[in-house]
């Protein structure tokens, strides 16, 4: 297991390096003169040169890349040209919105998808299974923003139970913060669940027909016991994989949901900074998100090794 974990760690670090290079090239090298972009088309040449010099943007690109990476490793993500706020502060302020939103959305999706998908697999070929498959199919077709709007109209406007949007900070009122997160989490979770149900269903279906589930029954388990104790344990492998792959979807979903419910999250910050041509802020924040996605997949790989002895031995 240790060798397996080390190998995966090396892979993780390699992936982060390649990603950082790709982002740097896409944003800096391919984007043109950063100082000119930041200042806009009316800026004078002197102003552009002054800004470029102040931020080290006149140095060769490899040097700039090296500085960016070494600063990041020391926790310095750069700062906004306009407000001079450090990117680290900008990001941490937004995480208290985005992290609970994304994690609760994913958790809700799993809590719904695992039992429902298992039930759908057990009832394949029966009306109840077909109805669930249909609902999941509809859920996949529904765009996440539309689900958000519908929920907000129902619970926010019609019933008036929850705010239709906006944000109350945790420090101000934890209950208020939770109330503003309920509908966004619900929209995100339901859409995640719709996708995950399909994968859980097919993973369980596949496992149900495996010889070892039959063996479990042959030595005394009922069909349900065999499915729950042997089947789900084995179906966990493909389900974990899918969850890892869905992380990127999840982040995409939070961007949209933060817009729909006007939440001051990370995604909205990035969009605002793209519009404001804050190259450094965008570059560092996107890098952080990519590191997060790669990290989740690293954790998934480790989980795979924990769940499946064949995987950890293969290393």
């Amino acid at each position: 297991m240790a060798i397996y974990a080390l190998r995966k760690l090396a892979f993780f670090l390699g992936a982060v390096f390649v990603a950082s290079l790709a982002i740097f090239i896409l944003i800096r090298a391919a984007g043109g003169n950063v100082a000119a972009i930041v200042l806009g088309k009316d800026a004078t040449a002197e102003a552009i040169n002054a800004l470029a010099h102040a931020y080290g943007l006149d140095q060769p690109l490899p040097v700039q890349y090296f500085n960016w990476i070494t600063n990041m490793l020391q926790g310095d993500l750069g700062q906004s040209f306009r407000t001079k706020e450090s990117v680290a502060d900008l990001v941490t302020a937004r995480l208290s919105v985005s992290v609970p939103l994304a994690l609760s959305g994913l958790l809700l999706g799993l809590i719904i998808a695992i039992p429902v998908g298992t039930y759908a697999a057990r009832n394949v070929g029966k009306p109840s299974g077909a109805v669930l498959a249909l609902i999941s199919q509809i859920g996949i077709a529904v765009p996440v923003f539309w689900a958000g709007i519908l929920l907000s109209v129902l619970f926010g406007v019609k019933l008036g139970w929850l705010p239709t949007g906006g944000w109350v900070d945790w420090r101000e009122s934890p209950i208020g913060a939770i109330r503003s997160l309920v509908l966004p989490v619900l929209s995100l979770g339901l859409i995640m669940a719709a996708v995950l149900i399909r994968y859980v269903r097919s993973a369980v279906l596949d496992v149900m027909n495996q010889d070892y589930v039959r063996t479990a029954r042959a030595v005394g388990m009922t069909r349900t016991q065999a499915l729950l104790s042997v089947g789900l344990r084995n179906a966990a492998l493909p389900i974990v994989t899918i969850v890892g792959l869905q992380i990127a979807e999840l982040i995409g979903g939070t961007v949209i949901i933060e817009m729909v419910f006007s939440l001051p999250g990370l995604s909205r910050m990035i969009l605002a900074n793209v519009a404001a041509r804050e190259v450094i802020v965008v570059q560092s924040t996107v890098m952080l998100i990519i590191i997060f996605v790669i990290f989740v997949n690293f954790v998934v790989d480790l989980l795979y090794g924990v769940l499946d002895p064949r995987v950890r031995n293969a290393a």
């Binding site: 070929g125 027909n209 495996q210 010889d211 070892y212 039959r214 063996t215 479990a216 029954r217 042959a218 030595v219 005394g220 388990m221 009922t222 069909r223 016991q225 042997v230 344990r233 084995n234 769940l307 499946d308 002895p309 064949r310 031995n313």
Partner: protein, 330 residues
Amino acid sequence: MTSAKPHAIEVKDLVVSNGDVTAVRGVSFTIPQGGRMGLVGESGSGKSMTALALMGLLPMGWNTHGNILHDGVDLVTQSDKALSSRRGRTLSMVFQDPLSSLNPVRRVGDQISSVIRRHTGADKRVAEAQTIELIKQMNLPRPEQLVRAYPHEISGGQRQRIMIAMALACYPQLIIADEPTTALDVTVQKQVLRLLNGAVRDRGSALLMITHDLPIIAAMCDTVAVMYAGRIVEIGPVQEVFRNPRHHYTRGLLDSQPTMDNIALDGSSRLVSIPGMVPPLHSLPTGCAFNPRCPAASDKCRETMPELGTDGINAACWHPIQPAGEVAAQ
């Protein structure tokens, strides 16, 4: 009044079907306590479906009719829950492919001891001690280490011994072995069979051995039933059936077994095969299902299905082969 010793299993008119497709068409046989029956036939003859029906482990969509009397109950009428309390305890099964049949993510020792705990209520430590003991009986090396191995870490022969240990853990009245050595290397087949043979004998269990390998039947069983297209076409004591087969299909099976006599290394093999193929279940010929492949088929065979036991002969055939002795006497 003394009642006769109950049978390990008594199967009456077993029919296994899925919609219009019938895989087993009225099979009856009895295995006494401690008896050993072989079930032979080509792939698709209904052997495995018969076995799965006895266990109540048919795939989704398949239904069982008839009677399966075992341990005082008719298994056909039992719920999955009631059956599950018997499976692994009074009747159990060894499957063909031990790699796919063992749970890949659980240590083999845990897989065996959980069976013991489930059926005997023994606590963890007792069950683990019994597991070690069982593994020793299976002639497996270093039992204390082996219990901690995962199925993929041990050899095919070892895996099948683990399967056998699981099946035998609770001293079942009947063990069904479905091609238990087909997936193994030839070199270990014999060892595993010898072990299964001895372990079944030690426990006094009855055995239903499913195989297409006739020498295995000859070595391990006292009766043999030959299946073709979902029916038993011949049944009787092994020596009698193998020496003097009465059904042309049995004859054909015996003739197509390679022996040192009929394999010629120069390529001029005298190995005979039965012409044609097993008919698909949804389009069986009328009359005797074997008639298109049978050398002795007559119009009667094409019209009417022969039954087992007509004229006191345990072969479902209108033109049974005359035993060699009788021919000579005529």
